[in-house]
């Protein structure tokens, strides 16, 4: 793996103003994303998991320049995207593309497949008719769509096919970074694996870099090299996939892993760490470590002091006062990831 950093995110925050009332005396905010720090290396897949409301999609939208951050830096190839002028930013957009969750709403129902895939090319490249057609055909081949359907409308396709159209749009410009925002969660199980396999194939063949956002851990695990776990607007753990599944450091990660139902009735008896309680409202996050309200190991310090998001061991980042699986921390120095 190359170690060149494509994207560095520093202290990224998004607070939505939800102040109610006529006089707007008491300001109140939803702390959707509250201080993210991570980087994405060239050619890797960074998975971001978390439950609804954890801010993973908001983060994706900010990196994809669909939302303006409240604070922080998004440094793409050494350039802070937030300091760019509008025209520079529009050029940059060709390098960062998105794939959306719902293949039924992310394609304009009144545009034909050709137009849909040609749109990004028309916007950023000056191609003549023949070149445009060739490129669109090439993209359709690449994602496994029959060229004969070029003049069809999106509603004539099934969910999986539509997602292929969305993928073709996203890769048409040879982007450097693709943000996949829950690209398979709206699809049926048997179709999900088709699309995941396609994404992996494209990522390898075209040497793409992905940020893969999802709430389904199995999918994230399959596709990602490193995984960031988010809870209430913050990253609680970030490490390579192998290390994460060896054993989690953060109790939330462990609860999340444990909550995923295993499709094998023989494992029913396995002991689980079910996280009790509800996710607190991001409008009013708890003091200290924001997981302390549900954490079985919470101590006084957790209630008062926010744990630092730091490297606990080689390549294992976590924000927790009392990390689990400490035996992994020591041995990790010598263990080489495979």
């Amino acid at each position: 793996m190359q170690d060149e950093k494509l994207l560095v995110v520093n202290n990224l925050k998004k607070h939505f103003d939800v102040t109610k009332g006529f006089f707007k005396k008491d300001k109140s905010y939803v702390y959707a994303v509250d201080g993210l720090n991570f980087d994405v290396k060239k050619g890797e897949v960074l998975g971001i998991v978390g439950e609804s409301g954890c801010g993973k999609s908001t983060a994706g939208n900010m990196i994809g320049q669909l939302l303006e951050p409240t604070e922080g830096e998004i440094i793409f190839e050494g350039e802070d995207l937030l300091n760019l002028s509008r025209s520079e930013l529009r050029k940059r957009r060709a390098d960062i593309q998105m794939i959306f969750q719902d293949p039924f709403s992310s394609l304009n129902p009144r545009m034909r497949v050709f137009e849909l895939i040609a749109e990004p090319l028309r916007t950023h490249r000056k191609l003549n008719k023949k070149e445009l057609r060739n490129r669109v055909e090439e993209m359709m081949d690449l994602v496994g769509l029959n060229r004969a359907y070029m003049n069809r409308f999106p509603h004539e396709f099934s969910g999986g096919q539509r997602q292929r159209i969305g993928i073709a749009r996203a890769i048409a410009l040879n982007p450097k970074l693709i943000i996949c925002d829950e690209p398979v969660s709206a699809l049926d199980v048997s179709i999900q694996s088709q699309i995941l396999n396609l994404l992996v194939k494209l990522q390898k063949e075209l040497d793409l870099t992905f940020i893969f956002i999802a709430h389904g851990l199995p999918a994230v695990k399959y596709i990602s090299d490193r995984i960031a776990v988010m809870y209430l607007g913050k990253i609680v753990e970030l490490t390579t996939k192998e290390k994460l599944f060896e054993g989690a450091l953060h109790p939330y990660t462990e609860g999340l892993l444990s909550a995923v139902p295993i499709p094998d009735p023989e494992e029913r008896t396995k002991e689980r760490h079910i996280i009790e309680g509800d996710i607190p409202s991001p409008e009013n996050p708890p003091n200290g470590c924001n997981f302390h309200t549900r954490c079985p190991f919470a101590q006084d310090i957790c209630r008062n002091e926010e744990p630092e998001f730091e490297e606990k061991a080689n390549g294992r980042f976590a924000a927790c006062h009392f990390p689990l699986n400490t035996h992994l921390l020591e041995k990790n120095e010598t263990v080489q990831s495979t």
Binding site: Q65, M98, F100, S105, S106, R110, Q194
Partner: protein, 306 residues
Amino acid sequence: MSHESQAVVNDISKDELVENRPSSLKRWMRLLWRSKTGTVGLIIVVIALLVAIFAPLIAPYQPQEINPVNMLKPPFWMENGSMENILGTDNLGRDIFSRILYGSQISILVGVMSVVVAGFIGVTVGLVSGYFGGIIDNILMRLVDSFLAIPTILFALVILAIFDSGVFTLIIVLGVTNWVNYARLVRGEVLTLKERDYVKAAHSIGVSNFKIIVRHLLPNVISSFIVISTLSVATTIILEASLSFLGLGVQPPTVSWGSILSDGRDYLSTSWWLATFPGIAITITVLGIIFLGDWLRDVLDPRTQK
């Protein structure tokens, strides 16, 4: 598993379309045939348009042709009626049938053109207001509110009293008073459309605002616009008739259904046919347009396209 080797069967699925559709013309014909009122509406509208276009060929007389000998002749089936003036004549001996045929030209022209004017202003304002939001939206919507507060007829009366009343003024006046409805409708639609993922997707690709409005929003509001505008062609024809009835519409020698109706007003008790036949023409045409509009609403709604 027994078919481990099969596990890597080609990932690229067979491209099977969810549904094979008949060509769109065929589909429209089928949908039209299924709706009786739609069919009736279309037939009426087509006839009205043909009549308006070919009025000079069909009409036995000129609309302003005065014939003092034949004043207030009743329709042909009544005593004293004759086939020469099948719907009778008015107080100046003008042939009612010919006048209605010619009148359809102005009534339909005013109805359609004023909706085009109103639609152009309204759709533009609605798109801009809904898409950009913020202060632009605030200003434009307050403007819309103030227009809504003015009674249409009163506004038309004032304008027509100031300017020369003629077909062109009428079109502009009716257009300017009606655009607010479209602006509100389109703005509402845009507000929901712009939250759709495909608009977000276009943003993420870097498509310019103008292109997003023209290529992603406009085509998706046009169907509801068409539905509302057909219905409003109908109401505008009535509005034109009312204004002409009040003497503020088209001026002689031009005829419209409203002006014929207005001319016949004084003879209602003695010679009912003067006002009745243009009234029937308005009613039938308006009904036809409304039927067609209802049917269009069903057809253009993507949920009924299954």
